[in-house]
Structure formats: C-alpha cells, structure tokens
C-alpha cells in the first residue's frame, strides 16, 4: 500500500514574479511501506523540491500530498504532526548541529515531541546505534567530532523521532567509501527493524543500484521513469537522457550486449557482469 503519495503535484517557485519557475510539473509518485525508494536526477531536476513537499515544508501549488491517504494540508490537520511522522534529513545536516553535547543534539527532536525522559533516552540510544554513533561520544561536543561522525549524529537526531517515513537528501555526499557504506547500511538496518518507508535523494545511479529497492528518475520537474532497480536499469537510454551517469559496469555490459557477445541488458553490479561474461565465455 502506498504510505505517502504525491498526487498530480506541481510546484512553482516565486509565482507572479519575473523569477517564476516551475520546479515540479504534475508529478504523481507512490512511496511504499518497507521499501527504500531512490529519487535520482540532475541538479535542478526537482528532486529536492519533492523532499521538501513530503513533510509539508513546502506546500504544493496544485495537487495533493497524502500521508496514509490523508491530505497533509487538509483543513484541521496539524502539519507539525506530519513533521514528526515524516523525518527529513537535509543535505550536509552536520552544519545544523547546535547542542552542547551529542546526546542532547540527538534528543532534540524527541524532546520537542514531549515524550517522557526515559523514552527519550531509549530513543536516543536506539537511534545512535542504527546511525553508528558510539555511546562514548554522548557527552562530547558535536563540534569535536569528525565530519563523518557529525553526519551520523544528525541522522540519529531524525531517527530518534522514530518517524514512519524518513527522507534523506544526499546522505553520503562527500563521504569516503567506508563512510558511505556505513551510512547506507545503517539506513537499511533501520528500515528492516522499523518497517519504515525510506526515501533517498541522490544523483548517483551507482549508489542507488546498491542500496535502493525502487528508483524514480526525474528530469526537468517530471518523472522520467520509475520502477524497481532491475526495471529501471532495463531502460539505460532513458537514464542517459536524464543526464545522469550510468555505472561504468553498465556501460561495458550494454556495449558487449549490443555486439551480441553476452546477454546482459540492465546489469548494474560487478557480480552480475562477471557471472554473465563468464557464462558467455564458457559457452563460446
């Protein structure tokens, strides 16, 4: 079932001014429970606008955003409650840390929810363990931490609100391969244990191939194609059309397939490419 739905949503920045710009044009997307959905697109494709519409930070110019079937801006509904249920992790969230200690920074969200102190502490510890923040760091100032650690504290802060849906805008930007894997694996573990809906905004086809279940490719404020990772990679031409880079391994296997040497459309991992090429070499 669709947990969160964009229904014919358009969004116009600075309407009725010379800077008017349509960032989203009649977009419909369904985000399913217990799935990791990657939204990919070039800068300016509208993907970050989608992120901000999902928790009511922006209000669509037309169309509706539905959470469990309910319009989040319906009369009488409380948007701040929506923000507790849809957690948004911005790009470079480490710049938003501000508390005196790591524990207090992670506890900021749940404290605003007016939970009791024991519950707040439980949530902080649980979120920290998923995000990969060592409890030894709890009493430190967030500003003493490394960039990667700060990023994880910021993510833990959103997880500690235990939202039904978590939206992360480029959570691995600027991290080294190890930092990237740690963050994405933490997000996967979180999804598995909370059955939550996870939405990742990214411009890396390569990362999304590894970590997402479903992919939505955006271009110029529209959805170009969507489906499971396997389905989307069957449409390499469309991905290229969106201006995104396809993984190196996909470029190689597509070319070999075109030349009739292997049967390998839609390959996006080295494992699969190796298997297909080996198979073809043995049959030769």
């Amino acid at each position: 079932m669709s947990k969160l739905t964009l229904e014919n949503v358009s969004y116009v920045y600075s309407p009725d001014t010379p800077f008017e710009k349509e960032a989203l044009s009649n977009v419909s997307i369904e985000f399913k429970e217990n799935r990791i959905t990657g939204i990919i697109g070039h800068t300016g494709s509208g993907k970050s606008t989608v992120a901000q519409l999902l928790n009511g930070l922006l209000k669509s110019t037309s169309g509706r955003v539905l959470l469990d079937g309910q319009d989040i801006f319906e009369k009488g509904s409380d948007v701040s409650k929506v923000r507790f249920r849809v957690g948004l992790v911005f790009q470079y969230p480490e710049y938003q840390l501000f508390e005196e200690t790591v524990w207090r920074d992670i506890a900021f969200g749940p404290s605003n929810m007016k939970l009791d102190p024991n519950e707040i502490d439980r949530r902080v510890r649980s979120a920290a363990s998923f995000a990969g923040v060592d409890e030894e760091l709890f009493e430190k100032s967030p500003f003493e931490l490394s960039g990667g650690q700060k990023r994880r504290v910021a993510i833990a802060g959103i997880m500690a609100m235990e939202p039904d849906i978590i939206v992360l805008d480029e959570p691995a930007a600027g991290l080294d391969p190890r930092g990237r894997d740690e963050i994405f694996n933490g997000i996967k573990k979180w999804r598995d244990s909370h059955n939550s809906t996870v939405i990742l905004i990214s411009h890396s086809m390569e990362d999304m191939a590894l970590y997402a279940d479903d992919i939505i490719v955006m271009k110029d404020g529209k959805v170009l194609t969507s489906g499971t990772v396997d389905q989307v990679f069957q449409r390499v031409d469309v991905i290229k059309q969106s201006g995104l880079d396809i993984p190196q391994i996909t470029a190689v296997t597509e070319e070999l397939t075109k030349r009739g040497l292997i049967d390998g459309n839609g390959i996006y991992t080295v494992d699969k490419a190796y298997e297909k090429i080996l198979e073809a070499l043995k049959e030769r």
């Binding site: 070039h42 800068t43 470079y92 490394s146 960039g147 990667g148 930007a173 600027g174 991290l175 080294d176 391969p177 190890r178 930092g179 411009h203 890396s204 201006g243 995104l244 880079d245 993984p247 190196q248 391994i249 470029a251 190689v252 070319e255 070999l256 030349r259 040497l261 080295v270 490419a273 190796y274 090429i277 080996l278 073809a280 070499l281 030769r284």
Partner: protein
C-alpha cells in the same frame, strides 16, 4: 623532471598544535617527493592523513619532526612562507567558503591584489585565469548565482591568478554534483597539460585514474605508490584498507583470476570493452 616538493622523514602530531595532551600522529615518518609538472593523486579514507599531507605541502601546517621543502625553501622558515604559498596554491572542499567578493572578477583579483601586483597586470591575469576555467562570460556575475561547479572554477581561477607552480585540490569535487565534478576535473586536466604541477586529494577513484601517479595513504603512512595501473591492479590490498577500485578494474581482476588473458590494471570503459572483445574473438 626535477623535484618540486620534498618531504623528508616528516611526522606531524596534532597534539603539538592543540595542546590537549592527546597524542595523535596524523603523519608518521613519511618521505615523498613530487616532481615538477607531475599530476599526483593522493587517496585514502578519512583519517588516513591525506588532508594533513596536503596542508604540509604549502606550509599551512609545518612538520613536528622532519623537513618539508618547496622549490628548495623550508616551509618552517617564516621568512619564506609567503614565497611558498605563492608557488603552491590550494583549492578546498566547500565552494561557499572560498568566495570573498561580490562579483566573479573581483573574487579572482583578490589574491593578486594581496600580492601587490600592478593593476594593469591584475586585469590581464584575471582575464586569463577566467578564460582558462571557461568562466569569462560570468565575470560580472555575482558568485551567489553560480552552481557549485562554477564556484569551484572561480576559486581555481583565483589561484591561477596568483600564477603558482603547483595547485593542490583538497577534495575539491566532494561537494559537487556529477556535472560539476566533470567540469572541475576537465579544468584540472587542462592545467596539467599546460605544465602545472597538480596534487589531487580525492576519494573518487574515477578521478584518481587520470593522474600520472597515485599515492595511497593509510594510517599516516604511504601504503602504495605507483602509476594508476600498478596501484589499482592490487584490488585485494585496496579492499583491505576499505577503498574502492573502479568497477571495470574489479571485473578484469576476477576474470584474470579465473585464468583469462586480460591486461593487468584496466581502468577505463573503452579499453575494457576492447580487451573483452579480443577475449571473445580469441575463443572462436
């Protein structure tokens, strides 16, 4: 080629800087020399010492033990530090932290102005620098309206206008989208062609493969040092220190392990497609 930057038995300990009593040797007894006109990529995960190394190259940090010389000048000699920095410029990670002026051309003029260059000469240098990063048409724009990639190119132009002999890029592409990364990499390659010494600190392997030489840092020491093919062909060793290898390198490595004849250290799509096609033809 002659030696340009030379490190002799360099140790750098952050505790000496911060005086918090904790011992943290970021660089351990390291010796390295960088040839004039070469393009050296330095890779390693966060905390490996690669950024500390970068800051030692132009005297932002001076060694706790050992000696760093730039064109024969000791970086610990305070009388020479301005000459050192004039020869070795640095472009940092965050494009927004490096822009100081309200128009692009003023920003580029900032460094030569500080160096006391004649106004007519400044004009000439600014125009040339903007030309070489392909940003001339934006010279009267406000930097705030530029994309991340464009801002980084302006930052690079600012360094070029100082007419240094070497430019260090300290993860200068980490915060950019794929398009911005491509723009900056193309600029770097052009600088190198024109004889500039280029040092690229990065964790993107697809950038490092373009260098003449790749230095792999781990735990404050040099783990590997060689041309990209030599370094990246050691897939197991790189994995051990949690670094990625290009996907095609990984594929070729596995096929070679199975006894297929492929050249060692394939790095690029085209050459891999070519090598695999030959492999298929050979079997017929």
């Amino acid at each position: 080629m002659s030696e340009f930057i030379k490190l002799e038995n360099v140790t750098f300990d952050y505790s000496a800087e911060e005086q918090n009593g904790q011992h943290h040797e970021a660089i351990k007894n390291l010796s390295l020399s960088i040839e004039k006109g070469s393009f050296v990529a330095i890779i390693g995960h966060n905390g490996s010492g690669k950024s500390t190394l970068a800051k030692l190259f132009n005297g932002i940090l001076v060694p706790t033990n050992g000696r760093v010389t730039v064109d024969g000048m000791d970086t610990s000699n305070e009388d020479l530090i301005f000459d050192v920095r004039r020869r070795v410029g640095m472009v940092f990670q965050n494009p927004d932290n490096q822009i100081v002026a309200t128009t692009v051309e003023e920003d580029v003029a900032f460094a030569p102005e500080n160096l006391g260059v004649e106004p007519s000469e400044i004009r000439h240098r600014v125009d040339q620098a903007l030309e070489s990063v392909k940003m001339s048409e934006y010279k009267e724009h406000s930097p705030s309206q530029l994309s991340g990639g464009q801002k980084q190119r302006v930052a690079i132009a600012g360094i070029i206008a100082m007419q240094p002999e070497c430019i260090i890029f300290d993860e200068s592409t980490a915060m950019l989208d794929p398009q911005g990364r491509k723009e900056v990499l193309e600029t770097i390659l052009k600088l190198k062609e024109r004889g500039m010494t280029v040092i690229l600190i990065t964790h993107y392997m697809n950038e490092a493969v373009n260098a003449d030489r790749v230095v792999v840092m781990n735990g404050g020491s040099i783990e590997m040092d060689g041309n990209p093919r030599e370094v990246f062909s050691q897939v197991e060793k790189l994995r051990e220190i949690e670094l990625d290898v290009p996907q095609v390198t990984d594929l070729a490595y596995r096929l070679r392990r199975d006894g297929f004849e492929l050249p060692e250290g394939l790095l690029f799509e085209e050459e891999t497609i070519g090598a695999l096609m030959k492999l298929f033809e050979r079997g017929k």
